[in-house]
């Protein structure tokens, strides 16, 4: 396999596999937060901001995978 082809493949695999975990995690966060909001609507403002923050943290592993893919594609 040529180096260029290996780079493109590696970048695709890195993002593809790295996005699985955060996808599941964000789904769980959003689902639980909606459950809690529907059970107790008065809390929804507080829950919504906390949900966004924790989603952004859960998302960060996907972002790392994306960064690795960029580094593979453009910086090496």
């Amino acid at each position: 396999m040529e180096l260029e082809a290996a780079k493109v493949l590696a970048a695709g695999i890195a993002v593809g596999l790295g996005a699985i975990g955060p996808g599941i995690g964000e789904g769980i966060i959003a689902g639980r937060a909606l459950e809690a909001m529907s059970r107790n609507p008065e809390m929804s403002d507080k829950l919504f901001t906390n949900m966004l923050v924790s989603m952004a943290i859960a998302e960060s592993t996907a972002i790392y995978a994306l960064l690795v893919a960029f580094i593979i594609l453009f910086a090496i």
């Binding site: 952004a56 960060s60 994306l66 960064l67």
Partner: protein
């Protein structure tokens, strides 16, 4: 925007060896804008808030609520809030800088014949986010060390348990605690990477997504990037909030660990 690169473009050099990049220039203009806004706010602030004052006071109160929940001491919360609000305002201006219409397409031709853009979203370069993270972590460690230096260092090197152990089981437990304390040092280094790369990666990904969609075909240059631009705005605001709240939590947790 056409060529995708991770390292910033160097526009000129100060004294011949300090490189000034396009993101430096953009950040300088953001700082000027924030200074002007704060001077305007200081001069026109009134007891009955109107316009800009309502927005800024809303942001202040939201962060004040978070800070007074994180710190037991109100005075300390106000001191930390100065830093946190500055982070938030600079990052939110920097994240949304890429939306300005004409400014981002200004190109300068260097003496070497190379054409580089004069302005660039500051947070899509790792140097700025890394600098902000270093400020946060320095303040975290210095404030905790200033309160109780020995106790804070003892949180990482837990030698006390090993010296006090009387039985074999207690000794093994103390060794395990010591090793876990050493792992906290790795955790501190991981904070540096995670906090800076999260902001950098999100903003870079938001920008590159638009570039990739626009460069697909001629038909996708006009309406198709819009949902991705909106996604970029939302993630830019959220990442600014996340960065400031996480720095607040790091500072307050380090203080709480020495004062418990």
């Amino acid at each position: 925007m056409e060529n995708i690169s991770i390292s910033p473009d160097v526009v000129f050099f100060i004294l011949g060896f300090i490189p000034i990049t396009s993101s430096h220039i953009a950040l300088f203009f953001i700082t000027m804008a924030l200074t002007l806004i704060s001077v305007y706010f200081y001069l026109t602030a009134s007891l009955v808030p109107t316009g800009l004052q309502v927005v800024l006071e809303g942001v202040y109160e939201w962060f004040m609520e978070k800070a007074s929940a994180a710190f037991p001491d109100q005075k300390r919360a106000e001191r930390a809030l100065a830093l946190i609000m500055t982070f938030f305002l600079v990052i939110i201006f920097a994240n949304l800088f890429g939306l300005l219409p004409i400014i981002n397409s200004i190109v300068v031709h260097l003496s070497s014949g190379q054409a580089v853009s004069l302005f660039h979203t500051p947070t899509s370069h790792l140097s700025m986010t890394l600098a902000f993270t270093l400020i946060t972590l320095t303040i975290t460690h210095v404030t905790a060390l200033m309160i109780k230096p020995l106790k804070y260092i003892g949180n990482f090197f837990k030698i006390g348990g090993i010296l006090k152990a009387r039985s074999f089981g207690g000794f093994a437990k103390a060794i395990l605690e010591f090793l876990l304390g050493l792992l906290d040092i790795v955790g501190e280094i991981a904070k540096l990477i995670s906090l800076s790369c999260r902001l950098f990666g999100n903003v870079l990904a938001g920008e590159l997504m638009v570039v990739v969609i626009m460069s697909l075909t001629v038909a996708t240059q006009f309406i198709f990037p819009m949902p991705f631009i909106i996604l970029g705005i939302v993630s830019g605001i959220i990442q600014a909030i996340v960065f400031s709240l996480l720095s607040l939590n790091y500072i307050s947790l380090a203080m709480a660990s020495v004062e418990e």
